[in-house]
């Protein structure tokens, strides 16, 4: 009796250890695989492109290759049809404004043939679209911002008995091609319009934005800093600019370089001090190839205690009216 009770006891140490082991294994399985689990339904259509954006140098007289990988992350077979269109900069940010067609004509016949054929993607299958670019020797140097679009052909037919809409999904990969004929000088940001009020309040932070310009023949990275100095020429703040791309002959607002818990969407630079007084200068310093920096623009503003002046004026006017009223009452 005693032996039986001991062996079958649910609370025996062996049973506990084995249960713990099994539970641990199950937990580890779910922890390890949790990132691979995605809530998807049979109707989900997910397309993934690599790369999102690429820059390709195409010297004249040579064949250059670029590969875009498109993956069907859905459970259904999808047929996609590629199309090349130009894009333009919006002049403020890195958002492409798509055009209807392209003027780029240097894809090889083989690539043009590929671009005109639909691609069948089975579930979880990917496809590498190889683009061959061959630029004739007499071509001129020019940058071509393109977007390669992949349009999924809708397999869901609209119900003949219901009103509604079919949905077409298109995803794009940006491809910026620099056709280069001969030596091209290294591209740099050539100007930066610093936008700020000329007179600022001493008791408020100084906010300004920088519209970067690139007049060179090719896209440039905005590597540099906004350096703020005071009336004594002392550097009081150095704010790094995020290395965004400004397309050839294009403009975009500079963004703060990444900082913890800050997002890149902020294009307004700010200098915060308890009290600002006198002239302050912000200089846009752009890093050069040789490691030196070049000041491409600067702006000086004057910090005055305007809110204090305003308060004094309001109090003075109020006191004047009060005194006037008092005098009037006294005469009566």
């Amino acid at each position: 009796m005693f032996r039986m009770h001991t062996k079958k006891s649910p609370a025996s140490p062996d049973s506990l250890l084995i249960s713990l082991l099994v539970a641990t294994l199950i937990t580890i399985y779910f922890v390890v695989t949790r990132n691979q689990v995605q809530a998807k339904t049979a109707t989900d259509t997910t397309l993934t492109l690599t790369p999102a954006t690429a820059f390709v140098l195409a010297p004249v007289g040579e064949v250059v290759e670029h590969t875009i990988t498109i993956k069907n992350d859905s459970q259904n077979t999808i047929q996609v049809r590629p199309k090349v269109v130009d894009f333009k900069s919006d002049g403020k940010s890195g958002i492409p404004i798509l055009q209807d067609n392209t003027i780029f004509s240097y894809f090889t016949p083989k690539t043009n043939s590929e671009l005109s054929s639909p691609i069948t993607l089975y579930a979880n299958q990917s496809y590498n679209l190889l683009l061959e670019i061959e630029v004739p020797p007499d071509s001129v140097t020019q940058e071509y911002p393109l977007t390669i679009l992949f349009e999924s052909e809708n397999s869901s037919e609209v119900d003949a008995l219901s009103s509604g809409s079919s949905i077409t999904q298109i995803i794009g990969s940006n491809l910026i091609i620099l056709v280069a004929n001969g030596t091209i000088s290294s591209s740099r940001i050539t100007n930066g319009a610093i936008e700020s009020f000329k007179i600022i309040d001493s008791l408020q932070s100084w906010k300004f934005s920088i519209l970067l310009e690139n007049d060179s023949q090719s896209a440039a990275l905005a590597s540099g800093s906004a350096v703020i100095s005071n009336v004594f020429n002392e550097v009081v703040s150095r704010q790094e600019i995020n290395s965004d791309v400004v397309l050839s002959k294009g403009k975009r607002y500079a963004r703060h370089k990444l900082a913890t818990n800050e997002q890149l969407t902020n294009v307004t630079f700010s200098y915060d001090e308890p009290f600002l007084l006198g002239p302050y200068t912000v200089a846009l310093e752009i890093l050069q190839d040789d490691g030196s920096v070049q000041v491409v623009s600067q702006k000086t503003v004057l910090a005055l205690p305007m809110s204090v002046f305003g308060l004094v004026i309001i109090i003075s006017v109020f006191s004047w009216f009060r005194q006037k009223k008092y005098n009037k009452e006294k005469i009566q």
Partner: protein
């Protein structure tokens, strides 16, 4: 014997736990949190141009100033380093269903349907999702169409406005969720799609100039018709285009 078994089981358990704790994802040269990613982070320490009579190689190691194409001035180009950093980013776009079904339309009553859009991009350039319709909701025999909504007091394909009165007939959509256009103030705000057949340019419905991780929005389609609308089935096609920023 019993002691040995216990020791064995306990040792196995500890080994598995130690292994599980030590198994963490490793991402080389990638600095990120949920809110940011260092786009040009690299930890290398040299730089320079390597040339021969037939090639020129640039490696942009540890510096922050090279252009996106790397160095110029040669007829043959082979790049390595962060001038190719853009080429490692994925961009994905997901739509939860490919068909909007209003069923049978009833006069003076709203009919609705919805789906979700999801975008992922690791690039600091962000993304934009544009939308347009091929044509207004059109009768299957082409004899009639349901006009695009003008909302209760005026809206268009760029600016949304409240639309809660079903006797203000038309077809439109609302957006809710992340990175949606700011004119969709709440669930009562609607606007019509840009009408491609009428020459209207597609309009942005989701956008961010930052990286996006599972940014999800819901599109709610709404239609209402009056008594004079010809009986029948009305259809259209709505197109969504997702493009990454640069």
């Amino acid at each position: 014997m019993l002691f040995k078994q216990k020791t064995l089981i306990l040792s196995s358990l500890l080994s598995i736990i130690t292994l599980a704790i030590s198994v963490v994802p490793v991402l080389a040269e990638r600095l990120e949190s949920e809110s940011y990613i260092i786009q040009f982070g690299n930890f290398n320490s040299t730089s320079g141009t390597k040339t021969s009579s037939s090639y020129n190689l640039t490696d942009t190691v540890g510096q922050t100033a090279s252009g996106p194409y790397g160095m110029y001035g040669t007829t043959t180009f082979l790049g390595s380093g962060f001038q190719y950093i853009y080429q490692i980013q994925d961009f994905s776009f997901s739509i939860s269903k490919q068909l909007i079904d209003f069923g049978l339309l009833t006069t003076d009553t709203f009919s609705t349907d919805s789906h979700t859009l999801t975008v992922n991009t690791r690039g600091g350039g962000g993304y934009t999702v544009y939308a347009y319709e091929q044509k207004p909701l059109t009768h299957q025999d082409g004899s009639d169409l349901i006009v695009n909504t003008n909302c209760d007091a005026g809206c268009n394909y760029i600016t949304a406005a409240p639309w809660v009165t079903p006797t203000n007939y038309g077809f439109g959509f609302n957006m809710s969720g992340e990175d949606i256009a700011s004119d969709f103030a709440n669930s009562t705000y609607f606007r019509p799609f840009a009408d491609n057949s009428n020459g209207q340019n597609m309009s942005a419905v989701m956008s961010s100039s930052d990286l996006a991780i599972d940014q999800l929005s819901t599109v709610t389609y709404k239609v209402s018709i009056g008594g004079s609308q010809a009986a029948g089935i009305y259809n259209t096609a709505v197109v969504y285009i997702a493009v990454p920023g640069y």
